[in-house]
Amino acid sequence: MTLQLIVQMAITGVTLGLIYGLIAIGLTLIFGVMRIIQYAHGEIYMLGAYFLYYWFDKWHLPYWAGFVMSAVVIFFFGAGLQLLLFRPLHGKDMLYSLAVSLALIFIISSAGIIAFGAVIRGISSFVTGQIRIAGAEWTYERMVIAGISLVLIIALWFLLQRTKIGLAMRAVAEDPETSSLQGINNRRIHWVAMGLGSALSAMAGCLMGTLMFIVPSMGFLATIKAFMIVIMGGLGSVPGALVGGFVIGFIDSFLTTLATSELAYIIGFVTIFVILVFKPSGLFGQAWE
């Protein structure tokens, strides 16, 4: 195994890790604030990617405007889902939110196949070219994508830690009753958090669609990854989601190159299982009931 191969795999691992981290942070935000299992998170990611595909490749509009539009549209889509479907189930058994999001998977992925066709497509690159460092190829596209993911993650951290609405979200996640006693409108925080989580997922979908390919069934794969990561890092924990993203990203990158993607899955799931055996609430998680 040469240095070149290792560097190449590490680049892929970091890029994948950041994008996975983005999806997983969206999921963990939704769970942390509302305590619902948003099982259809990957379908949202798929919708985001398809929005950009139509915007950029079909309608030939500017890439970055499409990226932002995709995030905005999916923000309101997610918020709408919260207001319409998840709000009535608030405070009920978690099974009900699981069932509703399961139904959303059925509806969105089948509707996706009908509307978009079960064909593999790709969003065209916004930039071409590459440089060589340490024998490995660093494409500009990959570097920009990693950079954007990093900026988005930092921006979210800033939002959660340094702004008023972020403080409110953390308060609701910590203790909904006390936070509403402090004058926080819990319902508004709920739909904002749901929209924000969905928008993060949609942006990750745009980036992943540019890097790899898009297909209507890509959502479920993302759901699997997102849940693996979030469970590994601990539900509701943003740093945990980032660490988990890197772990899964590196497992994917190294094992897919050195062995097969089949083995990458098996190892990934076994890793999750072993972590849960020793730390039943994930690496950084609290014991949510």
Binding site: M94, A99, F106, I114, E262, I266, F269, P280, E289
Partner: protein, 343 residues
């Protein structure tokens, strides 16, 4: 006054016995009522398998867990029984018990760590177990046949009866269905069943009362997974062909949908849900992808507007016509009787 008369209507033993007799006769005579039409028999057999899967999954639910490894254990039973036939030449009669044994051992070993996790973490951990089972079948190509699966899993013979005949297999599948439903129903009525529900309601409290929660959780998971493995063995010999995709998370999810649409609180739920949805599924088959969309819509409508599932319909009708205390008041009185509910 009013309450007494309705109570008599509700609990009339003669009516109940009559209904049971009619039900069992219909079930037994069904192949001849439809003059052994092949397609309808096929649907009936699929209904039985789905009832088996949903009912055994409901047993785990009675402790408050939803196992996404359930279809994986069905796969273990199916593959064990199929390999017994293909490699050793032993028929289903041996294979089903071998499958049950292998399923039970694996379930026992896996559930010891698995059952320590809770709520969402259990959901994910059991998902991981199911996915690893499926992918191991796919990965060891030479032994398990890879993604292409195993072929020519012939149905067994018993004396003069050849179970390649659908009518014969109907009775075999029905026997398993009755066995599983009765076993789960009886278990739910016993002390053990009450202990399961006590863990469901308040695990910490029940362990303070002296219930070894982990022991019961492991037992319930193992029993339910064993029943799923037996279902899998019959499934393999019916379809004569299995591949890892038949046992992935979607199979577990459809079982979960059957339970939710049917109702969560009694064993009638999974039976009703699996029957209703399998028939709806077959009726919608020509609509291709719209079928799955309609499934999703049914699920959402059930959760939002009929949270008790299909099994609560008779009670709702009774409440409307005989002015029984309706759902909410019922719940309130139950909560009052038990002191106080959760949250």
């Amino acid at each position: 006054m009013n309450d007494n008369s309705t109570a008599r209507l509700r609990r009339s033993p003669l009516l109940a016995v009559l209904l049971w007799v009619i039900g069992v006769t219909l079930l037994l005579a069904f192949p001849f009522i439809i003059s052994q039409e092949s397609y309808i028999l096929h649907v009936a057999i699929v209904v039985f398998f789905n009832i088996c899967l949903a009912t055994s999954m409901w047993l785990i639910w009675s402790l408050g867990f939803v196992s996404f490894a359930h279809a994986g254990f069905m796969g273990i039973g199916a593959y064990t029984s199929a390999l017994f036939l293909l490699r050793l030449g032993l028929p289903l009669w041996v294979g089903v018990w071998a499958g049950a044994l292998v399923g039970a051992v694996i379930a026992l070993v896996v559930s010891l760590p698995l059952m320590r996790t809770r709520a969402v973490y259990f959901f994910m951990a059991s998902w991981a177990v199911g996915e690893v089972i499926k992918r191991i079948f796919a990965y060891y190509r030479s032994f398990f046949g890879g993604w292409e699966g195993l072929f020519k899993i012939m149905p067994p013979k018993l004396g003069p009866i050849d179970f390649a005949n659908r009518t014969a297999y109907y009775y075999l599948a029905m026997a398993l269905m009755v066995l599983i439903v009765l076993a789960v129903y009886r278990m739910n009525k016993t002390r053990t069943g009450w202990i399961f529900w006590s863990i469901h309601e308040a695990e910490v409290l029940s362990s303070h009362v002296g219930i070894h929660a982990l022991k019961y959780k492991v037992a319930a998971f193992t029993i339910a997974s064993t029943l799923a493995a037996m279902t899998g063995a019959l499934y393999a010999h019916y379809h004569m062909y299995i591949n890892p995709r038949s046992f992935d998370i979607w199979a577990s999810e459809f079982a979960l949908v059957h339970i939710i649409v049917g109702g969560l609180s009694t064993v009638a739920g999974p039976v009703l849900g699996a029957t209703f949805l399998t028939i709806v599924d077959e009726l919608l088959r020509p609509t291709e992808f719209y079928r799955i969309i309609i499934f999703g819509v049914i699920l959402i409508l059930t959760v939002l507007f009929l949270p008790g599932g299909l099994e609560s319909i008779p009670r709702r009708i009774r409440a409307r016509f005989w002015r029984l205390p309706d759902d909410k008041e019922n719940q309130k009185s139950i909560l009052k009787a038990f002191g106080k509910g959760r949250k």
